[in-house]
Subunit: 195 residues, 2 copies
């Protein structure tokens, strides 16, 4: 049995903020892996309000002690909703910086199996326009580097039940039904590791 | 509604390693807090094989970005089983260093509400003797600093069902029944925040 340990590095949606079951999409996928006989160790490194800049600052320091050489260490990156939040007349990060940050993170993470989960939609059409644009750019950069990109935005932006789940949360974070849906979309993707 | 965010800094038992439900004792307690109408944000910073020395190294770097000043940030510390593991003719850490490390962590954590959860027993009587000794020393140091200490060792060392749960795991980590029991002991302690 290989000793798989995964660092999920991301924002509040990775953390599972607002999920009354506490599992979030990360916990659901890892529980399902256990159910398939793969007892993964999961390190949830999702932090509220974090942008790609914040992730890049802590990526190496937090992943290195959690992924010793003798185990099958892996990294999942997920961010973008906070990068594209409108604050004080501009987005929290310039579009170009978000893509550069992702690229720098992919360069570090290339020593591990790595995949990127794109940012999901929120309950705000203007913000969704920016999220979709960034998600496309992330997908393109991943494609250039040969890294699996799992799209959440495309499958969910017009999904009424997901939007209701986000509205039932706080407008940015869904309730547990929404996290269930996120887990289902990631888990059904051919690029996901445990199916 | 106050915005409570808790960093759980510890070892594999904090991580929930071996729990097929993925929740561990940390996830169960946070789920129960949600059930009581307290939607805590939990940051699980348990890392496998970590001793008190490893915790002390990463405590400030990992807690500071997760506990911004405007939220009700808290810290739970839990370690000791790995400190007292016998390797190469000695324990992984000298007894005195473990106590000094805890003390240094308590000094940092004093800027937040903080509590310490003691190390639980394992399925090895010799190791348990050392864990019990260290747990007592941790309790004493917490008492001197006025920090709540929640004892897991005392209530569980002679608990046959917990020992069976540890044996059903890998000898150090229990299966989900054991994590359920750990959560029950912490949750029933008068010092726990959400009851």
């Amino acid at each position: 049995m290989s000793d798989i340990r995964i660092c999920f590095v991301g924002d509040s949606l990775v953390n599972g903020t607002g999920d009354e079951s506490v599992l979030g999409w990360v916990g659901r996928l890892c529980r399902d892996a256990h159910g398939q006989g793969v007892p993964v160790t999961s390190y949830n490194l999702g932090v509220r309000r974090d942008t790609s800049r914040d992730l890049w600052r802590r990526l190496e320091a937090e992943c290195t002690p959690r992924l010793p050489a003798e185990c099958d260490g892996r990294i999942v990156l997920s961010c973008g909703v906070n990068d594209t939040t409108w604050e004080g007349g501009e987005t929290r990060l310039p579009f170009e910086e978000s893509v550069t940050n992702l690229d720098a993170m992919l360069a570090f993470a290339s020593r591990y199996p790595c995949l990127v989960v794109g940012p999901p939609p929120v309950d705000d059409d203007g913000h969704n326009g920016r999220i979709g644009h960034l998600s496309d750019a992330f997908a393109e950069r991943c494609g250039e580097r040969g890294v699996t990109f799992i799209d959440l935005f495309g499958p969910l932006v017009d999904d009424a039940s997901y939007r209701i789940a986000v509205r039932a949360g706080d407008g940015a974070h869904p309730d547990s039904r929404g996290y269930e849906r996120l887990a289902a979309v990631v888990g059904a993707n051919p690029g996901w590791w445990f199916r």
